[in-house]
């Protein structure tokens, strides 16, 4: 639908990072191959049945076969399909840290083991403060203002306005 010259202009606008290396592209193609193979084995164990009486495994066997064939073609052409993006150490660190904060939120929200949790207000407040200060590198003033302001706003929206059944400590 578009010509190559236009694609080049678009790449400049969106400021695309350098493409992924060949080993990274190979891993990206191998993962669906492994998942597809595992799914195919499981589908066959479920039983594919016959065309007149299809078993539970027939349809997933078809989908996983498609995944396997696609991945094999991708692996064969790994040098010519130049796309994806390189991972940067700072990007991985930021996402890792954000995942830790989301996990902290979930444990505070829903509890952990025998501990019932704090409900969503404290969990939201603590997670926002951690995120804004350590990932966003915002000032203390901005961190406090946004964390408290957003927690109050979410309480008003979900608890007071929508009456949503979310575990909460206030109200």
């Amino acid at each position: 639908m578009t010509d190559p010259g236009l694609e080049e202009q678009l790449r400049a606008i969106t400021d695309e990072p350098p493409p992924a290396s060949v080993p990274a592209r190979l891993i990206a193609a191998a993962v669906p191959l492994l998942v597809g193979t595992a799914a195919l084995v499981n589908s066959l164990l479920l039983g594919v049945g016959t065309l007149t009486d299809p078993g539970a495994g027939l349809w997933p066997a078809g989908a996983s076969s498609l995944m396997i064939v696609g991945s094999v073609i991708l692996i064969v052409n790994v040098r010519s399909v130049v796309d994806g993006e390189r991972f940067s150490a700072s990007g991985v660190r930021t996402i890792g840290l954000s995942l830790v904060f989301i996990a902290v939120f979930l444990m505070m929200f829903g509890g952990f083991g025998a501990w019932p949790g704090t409900g969503f207000e404290w969990a939201t407040l603590v997670t926002l403060a951690l995120w804004l200060k350590l990932i966003g590198r915002e000032s203390w003033w901005m961190t406090a203002a946004v964390s408290v302001g957003v927690t109050v706003a979410l309480h008003l929206l979900f608890i007071e306005l929508l009456n949503a059944p979310i575990p909460h400590t206030i109200g």
């Binding site: 639908m1 236009l6 678009l10 606008i13 990072p17 992924a20 990274a24 990206a28 669906p32 597809g36 799914a39 499981n42 479920l46 065309l51 007149t52 009486d53 299809p54 539970a56 349809w59 997933p60 078809g62 989908a63 996983s64 498609l66 995944m67 696609g70 991945s71 991708l74 399909v81 796309d83 994806g84 991972f87 940067s88 996402i95 954000s98 995942l99 904060f101 989301i102 996990a103 939120f105 979930l106 929200f109 829903g110 969503f120 939201t124 997670t127 926002l128 995120w131 804004l132 990932i135 966003g136 915002e138 946004v146 957003v150 979410l154 979900f158 929508l162 949503a164 059944p165 979310i166």
Partner: protein, 499 residues
Amino acid sequence: MDFFDSVVSGFEVALAPRNILWVFLGALIGMIIGVLPGIGPVPTIMLLLPITYELPPDSAIILLAGVYYGAMYGGTITSVLLRVPGEAASVITVIDGYQMAKQGRAGSALGIAAIGSFIGGTVAILGLTFGAPVLARNALSFGPPEYTILALLGILMVATLTTGSTLKAVIAAAAGLLLATVGLDQFVGSERFTGGILELSDGLDFVALAMGLFGLGEIFYALDHRTRQTFTALPFNNVWPSRADIRESRWAILRGSVLGFGLGVLPGGSGTLSSMASYTLERKVSKSPWRFGRGAIEGVAGPETANNAAATAAFVPLLTLGIPTNAVMAVILGGLMLQGVAPGPNLINERPDIFWGVIDSMYLGNLLLLIMSIPLVGLFVKLVAVRESILAPIVVMVVMLGTYTISNSVFDMWIVIVFGILGYLMRKSGFDPGPLLLAFVLGSILENSFRQSLRMFSGDLLGFVQRPISGTLVALIALVIVVPIVLRLVRARTRTPGV
């Protein structure tokens, strides 16, 4: 009730004071997220699902539809003034829009984009008004074989028309089909791919999967790309094009309307694709193609018209066949399902209030967007100053709490995290998560109708080609597969000298 009575009754729904408010809010939210880079219509609609859960179905879908077509308007403003496309469908507008702004013609670019968007949107709503009932009437005769082939064609076209690698889109779609099989098999009652986890017996929750892929996944991706860059908007005067501007762009607007509607109805024919196709077309038909890239107004008018027409046209297959053609429509389908409304050929007769109410609300929404887009330009430009570092944790909190509100399950919040990581990794490695979500939504329709068809045909696969409609659709599938291969071979031949 005849056609005109139905359309009029739709206006009664659309013009109810509460629905006017929801159209206004949807269009405004859409414009705002269109302006903000890094947050698109899919995560926004997902975030609004918990709120729409509390609304009547007509108001809920009116709001969500408004967000979608509103986003198409908003993206233009930052593309023209800041060289920052707010969302994917406006990337192309940067090329000539920003050049026009540098030449002191930002007002003309923004004005013609608003007018083009209004005309494109309105033409598409007229197409929807007159075309959708005809399609719905014909679709009443569809049985399982037709739905099988239609859903398959939809997935294939989404994979073919994707702006990235077709092969990767096919793999992502296959993964979506596979994920749709998790849970209890409806036909034989055995558990599939649950790993003994009780919560997975009912299958993966659509909301958790979509919130993860598009809500959390987009945030992770934006965090990876974050900059502390500050944007300075180019100056602009009155946002109104001159007579010469309108004369120069009128055919581009007309072509953009028709092209956008045509592509928007097709699976995979998103706003992004139609805006790119329109730009390519305008450059090809222009008597002075050298002006493109240097501030040609047709390079703004055509794509902006086309992406709005496409956004509206995508409602045709959703409302008449129950088949979503892109990720946004898949999420809107999810919103309808949450409301207990099943879109399809019967919707027009069973829920005319929703069918016609949503369509007629779009006339009002488009008018509101035209009115809002001109005076609010200054405000929207200021919005880009909101740092992603502040926006990201807020969106994450809303994603997590929104998921819990809908499912009341902490387990689903963990599912959101898993699919958030998957969505991020997919985008980093060049796999578009859109085909996965779409295939996941269509997966159960496809599998159920396929197995019903096999029983109908006593296992004879030729049964699919022996019925007139499904046979025609099979021929279309063959075309979708064969045409790109032939085109690639022809291109390879023309590139190799002496062959």
